[in-house]
Structure formats: structure tokens, C-alpha cells
Symmetry: C2
Subunit: 159 residues, 2 copies
């Protein structure tokens, strides 16, 4: 089974692929869709859609997991993040990939064991779980693997 | 020239087509994309994308106009509205239709002459401009024609 974790953003969108069989879990790849250089929002959304479609075509994930919103951001950021998330959810639905959504708190709890953990702790745990060197990944790619791990955890305990 | 006006929403999305030649302007159709019965947001976004794509294929608008956000709504509504707007902007961009965005205030000013006009005044003016009977249209379709008219007005004065 392959889980596609997504850390949504309208400028940087991290994704991470987690492969598992029973209790064994490995990171099967992760990267950042960087559209920060494109000034126009509509064009950014188009590239996000195209790039995520490519990732799906290439890896054929069975399920996806995505972070919900941080409520403490500025309302304009929430609105723009909504645009990106809408396009990402559309892309998953067009490819019939079911998506689970998790709050930042749920993700931190699954990865670190503490819903109030900071970003460094999450990244440290993602590195240890997946045996990655600390400097290998971009920030949003760590977060994408974290949300995929949260979904893996949920699936494991629901069996 | 054909302008597609869009009143975005994640449950009801109004659209209106405005045809103009010089100063002569007519409503060339309008309707509501009603996805309110679909409980799942991802599925609603898919239907929004498909229905708007159909409207574009059928009518081939030259340009589009869309309302920006109401800042006075609840943050969760703004977030969800962002999802719908993201998908609508993507659909327009995929069809290479340039889109102009207007605030509710700009739209009211263009249609009624007063940025603080209420919904009834906007609808009354849309009915008179386009010679529509008052009961013909659904609310969001009026608003979509209003935003298209705002774009027409802008285009006219920029000549």
C-alpha cells in the first residue's frame, strides 16, 4: 500500500510517499512542488494541478492524507491556502484517490507522541522513523511524510 | 465579446454571460451550479470543475470576472470558499480565459452607483439593465451578471 502525504501550500507544496506492508513502513520518495516564483495565482494553481497529477500518474498511490488548516494565520493566507487545497483535493478526486485530513495536532501526536511538539521535533522523528539524514529534505517534504505517517498509524490501529 | 461572470461558492456557484458590442450589452444566459446536495467537499469540487468546463466549452467566453471574498464571514467559510475559488480559477486558467477580480464594493458601485448598496438594489438594477423580469433568476445568477457587468464597465472606460 502506498500513501501520498501532502503538506498543502499555494507557494510550496510538500509531498511524501510512504510504502507499507503490515507494520513495515518506508519512505518511497518525497519532494517539494515549488511554485513560489510564479506571480499569478491562477497559473500557480495550474502548475500545482499538473505536477500533482504527474506524481499520481508516476507512483499510483492507493490513498492520500492532507493537513487541514492552521487557524492562527492571517485571514488572507487562509483564503489563499484554501485555493491551493481546493485544487489539490480536486486532483486527488479526479484520480479517485480517497483522502484523509488531519489537524496539525493529530499529526504531531502521531509522529512525536505530543500534540504540542514543535517543527524541529517533528522533523527529527520523521528522520528517525524513515532513517533519513537530517539534512536530506526540504521542510515541507518532512511535513508531508509526517501526515502520511499519521494516516499509516490510523490505518494500522483500525485493523 | 462575451464575459463570463462568476459568483463563487462551494455549494451554489452562479454564472452569467454578458455579450457586448460597443456600448450595447445583453445577458446571453445565466444559471446556478448547485452542488449543495453533495456532502463531500472533494466531490463538490469535481462537479464544479466539470460543470464550469462544460459552460466554457459551450459558450467560449473571451474573458471572465469573479467576485473576491467577503471578509466579514467566519474563517471556516472563507477557507471553504477558497477551495471553490481555487478550482474555478484553475478551470478558467486551463481554458486560457483571463479573469478579472472585483470586490463586492466595486461590483455594487458599478451596478448601482453606490458601493454600500444592498442585495435587493443590486438585483433590481441587474433586472433593469438586462431587461429581466424580477422573478426570473436565482440569487447567485443575479450576482454573477452583476460581476460581469462590472467587468464590462471597466473594459468600456479603459478604451
Amino acid at each position: 500500500m502506498l500513501i501520498l502525504g501532502i503538506d498543502p501550500g499555494s507557494r510550496y507544496c510538500g509531498y511524501g510517499l510512504l510504502q507499507y506492508e503490515g507494520r513495515k513502513v518506508v519512505a518511497a520518495g518525497c519532494d517539494l512542488i515549488d511554485v513560489s516564483k510564479i506571480p499569478d495565482l491562477s497559473e500557480r494553481l495550474c502548475v500545482l494541478h499538473d505536477r500533482l497529477s504527474e506524481v499520481i500518474r508516476e507512483h499510483k498511490p492507493d490513498q492520500a492524507a492532507m493537513e487541514t488548516m492552521f487557524f492562527n494565520k492571517h485571514v488572507q493566507s487562509i483564503f489563499t491556502l484554501g485555493h491551493a487545497r481546493g485544487v489539490l483535493l480536486l486532483t486527488l478526486a479526479q484520480n479517485s484517490i480517497p483522502v484523509a485530513e488531519y489537524s496539525p495536532r493529530e499529526i504531531k501526536k502521531a509522529v512525536v507522541g505530543n500534540g504540542n511538539a514543535n517543527k524541529q521535533q517533528v522533523r527529527f522523528m520523521v528522520s528517525s522513523i524513515f532513517k533519513l539524514s537530517n539534512k536530506q529534505l526540504k521542510d515541507d517534504a518532512y511535513d508531508a511524510l509526517a501526515v502520511a505517517f499519521c494516516q499509516f498509524n490510523r490505518t494500522r490501529f483500525m485493523k
